[in-house]
Symmetry: C2
Subunit: 209 residues, 2 copies
DNA sequence: GACGTTTGAAAACATATGTGAATCCGAGTT
DNA sequence: AACTCGGATTCACATATGTTTTCAAACGTC
């Protein structure tokens, strides 16, 4: 799973809310997350915030960089993070880490899915979609246990990812809990019935999460 | 501007609402639009529709394909379209059309901008953002005349791109017209004051449109 | 173990945007 | 000129979601 380590690579640690990249600066390194979560986001001048991607263990922050000269979005850790740091010069000139092309494609497709979610889905559908996606990604990373996984996001983070307010995320999660389609407390998610949640997410039969 | 034409390339024509690619099928060709507009979109089972990208003259539909085996989104023409068709086999094995890497990067960044728009912006901000973006792209393609350009979208198309309803798009455009920040009728857009519209769009100083 | 800070929960209220239906208008077509 | 037909417009009304505030529980830190 982990890409090969080159001599110039470094094992690095971050605390929550540290920047891996700042808006409108040239990215100088690519990080492969080993442990912890991070996100890509943009801020509007009045403080409104939209998370544009979430990074879980195994993900590259940001796979898109090798294509671009300047970061449009900032990348920030959400938890403690342990990662491999690869200077970007190498990325441009040398081989890319294995599997990064696939990860780039996945990340782009996921972004389309988020566009549909933010543009056309209700609060319940957005939350079902996001939580399902995160659970599936954790499962593929080998970090799910049965129907449960860690989910170290605050309700504010979830709101900023789904385009809702924290208050409404709280309301909606409550009602979903009441209906028994999910359990979520102290950063731990349990999905009793994957199929039921999938229906709530308004996903097509072919939609990858 | 136009990429080089190879022997296997074809000049092709489409009428409005024809498919360049269908959901969940393998794309077999890449199209470079010479004239006309197209879009990428997804449909939910109940008919809700979200446009995930717009293609103007000079754009490749879809620059993302070479990365991916299956189309997640359908690509549909919005007007009459004249395009160059390039079989995708060539794309994978041969050189990519010049400038496509840059176009891919641009397209990905634009998608982040749309996420912010759909997730966090008001109707006025979304419309200002979209119209500004389209005007700028038309200008860069050499298709703007002074402060005007063609904009062959219906209000329903605009609604499906901005995540609003057609009725609300209409309402909001009216109010913007009344304020004098734009003129838009019979598929023709005029922006008297770029700066004013940019302010309305809630774009940061560095945001590319 | 006490403190301050962050997060989750709740309630009352405000509003931007959606819904459904009718009408109007302009461009083609016969 | 009379007919269509898709799109634009308008209206009255509904509601999902946002706003503001308050409080309590959980958490990290010294």
């Amino acid at each position: 799973m982990l890409s090969q380590i080159a001599p110039s690579d470094d094992l690095v640690f971050f605390r929550p809310h540290q920047f891996l990249a700042r808006e409108n600066e040239r990215p100088e390194a690519l990080y492969e997350i080993l442990e912890g979560w991070a996100c890509r986001h943009r801020l509007l001048s009045d403080g409104r915030r939209q998370i544009t991607a979430l990074y879980l263990p195994g993900d590259h922050c940001d796979a898109i960089w090798p294509l671009s000269d300047v970061c449009r979005d900032a990348v920030v850790t959400l938890t403690n993070v342990r990662a491999v740091r690869r200077p970007l010069g190498d990325i441009h000139t040398l081989d890319r880490p294995k599997g990064m092309g696939a990860q780039l494609a996945e990340s782009i497709e996921r972004q389309s899915g988020w566009l549909v979610s933010l543009g056309r889905k209700t609060a319940v559908e957005r939350l079902a979609h996001l939580l399902l996606e995160l659970f599936e990604r954790m499962r593929r990373a080998g970090l799910a246990y049965g129907q449960q996984c860690a989910l170290p996001l605050t309700q504010t983070d979830i709101a900023d990812a789904t385009g809702l307010t924290a208050v409404h995320v709280n309301r909606t999660l409550q009602s979903m809990r009441a209906k028994g389609v999910l359990e979520f407390h102290s950063k731990w998610l349990r999905i009793p019935d994957l199929g039921a949640l999938r229906d709530l997410a308004a996903l097509g039969p072919h939609d990858q999460v």
